[in-house]
Amino acid sequence: MCTYATVKTTIDGSAKGPDSSWFHVTDGTIYFDHPVHAMAEHTLNIDFADPARGPSARVAVELTAASARELVAAIQAALESAPAELTI
């Protein structure tokens, strides 16, 4: 199905994207829907983007639901492993 579900968030960081160039990213778009490339019917898709730089300023990932949950846990674990004063 097309879930139509889309969650947007503001982010602040950098991503390495088209032409192997780093760029500042401002927007995250997260949705569970059909992938473009991954061999699964549905995936958890994340776009790290800077809309001000145009549609191609985007780093996209498509993850199976299970691996997306593992990624969430890994991110949490990495953040929690660092001294609290560094991750404010």
Partner: protein, 247 residues
């Protein structure tokens, strides 16, 4: 009939007078024929969609697919354009109706047109095909596993979509529906509900639901592809359009 055809990107005047991109494929011979508007799926105006447009030309129709994301992302790669459009909330229904109407007008303006135009859409485009047929003068509509023609869409997300239950009494064209029995959106129960509503309103329709098929069984570049369902589906589409768009 020759199998020679011409395909190219053009610009058409879309909703609200906006110039948008469209992909057109036409048989090379000059006999009168019907037209088909292809509505691309949510992943965009991509290679697979353009292959479908060319297939309709090979079947003998003038076919056009408007790039629904042109305004948000002109000249962008299809996946980037789809991501941009999604992040901005998707395609408003009013704009979709305007763009499909413009594409139908483009087809009827061709010197080869017999003035009959059908519409077909896949996935999100399946819903949009029904939406267009409820609001435009079209001669045939095909809904390939469109979700939320009936049923309740998710709430609280930026990408808003409503079901079409209140519009179904206005359906102006015969509808061919092609569905997978293993699909959840639309589920077999939702397909049955749509069938009942159309029957109750006296709307001509023909539904086929396939075993061993879920969503997107026509998509040859995805694991959801089911060759038996897709082959039979193409035969159903061909017969349906021959009946309603021929001579």
């Amino acid at each position: 009939m020759s199998d020679s055809l011409c395909a190219q990107s053009v610009r058409i005047t879309g909703h609200a007078g906006d110039e948008i991109e469209a992909y057109v494929a036409r048989p090379d011979d000059d006999g009168a024929r019907g037209g088909v508007v292809v509505i691309h799926h949510m992943p965009g105006f991509d290679r697979a969609t353009k292959e479908i447009v060319r297939r309709f030309a090979e079947l003998g129709y003038d076919a056009v697919c408007p790039n629904l994301y042109w305004r948000e992302a002109p000249d962008a790669a299809p996946d980037d354009a789809a991501a941009t459009a999604r992040a901005r909330g998707g395609v408003p229904d009013e704009r979709l109706i305007g763009d499909v109407g413009a594409a139908a007008h483009y087809l009827r303006s061709l010197p080869t047109s017999n003035q009959k135009v059908g519409v077909i859409g896949y996935c999100s485009g399946g819903r949009q095909s029904v939406l267009a047929a409820c609001n435009l003068d079209l001669d045939a509509a095909v809904d390939c596993y469109g979700a939320f023609v009936v049923g309740t869409p998710p709430e609280g997300f930026p990408l808003q979509v409503t079901n079409l239950v209140d519009q179904l009494p206005n359906l102006r064209a015969p509808l061919l529906g092609l569905f997978g029995k293993e699909d959840s959106y639309p589920s077999p129960e939702q397909v049955a509900e749509l069938d009942e509503i159309l029957t109750a309103n006296g709307k001509p329709h023909e539904f086929h639901s396939y075993d061993d098929a879920g969503h997107a069984f026509f998509a040859v570049d995805r694991p959801s592809y089911r060759v038996a369902a897709a082959n039979d589906g193409w035969e159903r589409i061909t017969a349906f359009y021959t009946t309603h768009l021929g001579g």
